[in-house]
């Protein structure tokens, strides 16, 4: 992996709140996170864990009732958390950070040809006009794997299939020449065969354009394919972060264990699949201690009282669980997982 350990974007002690019918909801609870140059970071978590909110906040796309309460988002010596006006954000959005959204059916303008939609970004962000802009658009179309580009340029979104439309969305994002590309569930709306193609395309483009990519997803299969590093989120907090193989095969937080154990791939037919009991916490209320504690069979008393700090597992791997405290009782991961971990170690050994 081409990973120089220099952060391109640093999030520090970020707290994001929303006001909803007079009540305050804390969506992001004091997150600190470095995004390294050239890496593929995956943010995983269930809906409502705040993964999309976190990424929207670095593009200034929070809903009107949402605001950054505390903390900093440092990018190129600027603190994005201080941005107030749309003008300030326009210097970042698109140019520096671009986004590929989930549903290619709704993210394109149905009334404009796809060529014009891409060219619009080429014009705005690269300041090209006329023939040059046209040529650049065709090049982008080729880059995202579209054939017969002159003809396709003149077509409308409805003439494209879902996978092809997602390619167009990616081309639009690339037209802005961003440094960071955020992919918010880029393949959830697509079929598996198409999904594999789009993921491969994103990987190739990441190398070709030297991008830093962030994937927001809940599909651990996708994560295994694309990510160098994984951040696991739960209830507005990053609870574990590490290299992909560290999270998959040496996870430390019980929530990470639970997420992996509940994959159908780990179950066998006729037996109960591991499932997480209960529901995620109510974010309107203040969360004390470890947010996962009420659903956690391994919870210690301290988990209900004090928020665990990040314990270091390796140079790249950190987990927010009291189980890693030297004083904590030794807890083995669930049985189903141990076989999975062993398999991972075997693969690690081989490579």
């Amino acid at each position: 992996m081409t990973q120089t350990q220099s952060p391109i974007l640093t999030i520090q002690n970020l707290v994001i709140k929303f006001t909803l019918r007079g009540r305050v909801l804390t969506a992001i609870r004091n997150i600190s996170l470095d995004l390294y140059k050239g890496e593929n970071l995956a943010i995983v978590g269930e809906s409502g864990s705040g993964k999309s909110v976190l990424m929207k906040s670095i593009m200034g796309l929070l809903d009107k009732n949402g605001y950054i309460d505390q903390g900093q988002i440092l990018y190129n010596t600027q603190d994005l958390a201080q941005f107030r006006t749309e003008r300030e954000w326009l210097s970042i959005r698109g140019k520096e950070v671009a986004m590929v959204t989930q549903d290619p059916m709704t993210s394109l303008n149905p009334l404009k040809t796809i060529g014009k939609q891409i060219e619009e970004c080429v014009h705005l962000h690269q300041d090209l006009k006329g023939k040059v802009a046209y040529e650049e658009t065709l090049k982008l179309l080729k880059d995202v794997g579209i054939h017969d580009v002159e003809k396709r340029y003149k077509q409308y979104p409805h003439e494209f299939s879902g996978g092809m439309r997602q390619r167009i969305v990616i081309a639009i994002a690339l037209a802005c020449k961003p440094k960071i590309l955020i992919c918010d569930e880029p393949t959830t709306a697509l079929d598996v065969t198409i999904q594999a193609q789009i993921l491969q395309l994103l990987k190739n483009l990441q190398q070709k354009y030297g991008l830093t990519t962030v994937y927001i997803t809940h599909d651990l299969g996708v994560v295994a394919k694309v990510a160098d590093r994984i951040a696991v989120m739960y209830a507005g907090d990053v609870i574990e972060i590490g290299k992909t193989h560290e999270i998959f095969f040496n996870g430390k937080h019980p929530y990470t264990w639970a997420l992996i154990s509940s994959l159908p791939q780990l179950g066998s037919k006729g037996e109960q699949l591991y499932s997480i009991k209960g529901t995620p916490p109510n974010l309107f209320q203040e969360i004390k201690g470890d947010a996962f504690a009420p659903r956690n069979q391994y919870a210690l008393k301290i988990d209900f009282v004090e928020r665990p700090p990040f314990f270091q597992v390796s140079d790249t791997h950190y987990a927010r669980t009291w189980l890693l405290d030297p004083l904590a009782p030794k807890v083995e991961p669930p049985e189903a997982l141990q076989a999975f971990f062993a398999e991972g170690r075997r693969y690690a050994h081989e490579s």
């Binding site: 269930e46 065969t193 992996i260 179950g267 037919k269 109960q272 499932s275 693969y347």
Partner: protein, 315 residues
Amino acid sequence: MSHKEVVVEVKNLKVVFGKGKNKFIAIDDVSFDIFKGETFGLVGESGSGKTTIGRAIMRINEVTEGQILYHGKKLNGKISKEWDREITQKIQMIFQDPMASLNERAKVDYIISEGLINTKNFKNEADRQQKVRNALLNVGLLPEFSSRFPHEFSGGQRQRIGIARALVMEPEFIIADEPISALDVSIRAQVLNLLANLQQQNDLTYLFIAHDLSVVRFITDRTAVIYKGKIVELAETEKLFANPLHPYTRALLSAVPEPNPYKERDKVVEIYDPSQHNYDIQPPSFIEIEEGHFVLANEEELERYRTSLKMEVSK
């Protein structure tokens, strides 16, 4: 399968939408049996016709040609009133999106008992309430929830209400159309377990329609792979995953991402190219290549598949 009583028999099913120039053949000559107590999986990409088959069995889509038999009795076309009532009760459906499939203006009590009311399948008010109570308890919800509205529930709970609505009719056969794709990862496992438990308790037969092959592998006994309205391969699920024969099945299986970064890193995804078959010269047929393993192929391909099967055994 120890007992092989056929519950649903689909024979040369053809479903055509539109007429003349706009004619579209959604399902083309599809045949399969579903045995009692099993979970039969139907996988394919969007537009392949998997939902159309489910809807044809539900009698929502009209059958153009062919037959669907339920316990050996025809259920498509003109049927008697009593038979119609019986299958309405015996065949139930669970839908994909629990956010869209429940009536927002009705209380849970009404949502669950609507089917009962329509078929007058209860003795008196007390009996109806008892049935609703039992259905709720069966899916792991509290009976008190019956006086609430759908918006008060989470996605997983709403899907449970959808399941309770099917169960209250005391069905034999349930068509589950992507029942967990709209749910969150942590909730999926709960609903999958629930479906498996209910199957055991109530001796249910499932038709499980899905595009997520890892789920299909976990829950189904036999699986049919459908591509552009035709079943290309059908076998016991484990066999299908171990020995996929048809190139489309192979492509589909290779595209499923596995939760193992080491394996994923060097995996080569196969791409299915329909032009590889020369069906113009030799049209294919749906043939049982080994016991319980069907594949759509012509003679030349069959020969090749047979050789590859022999190779598998000798390994």
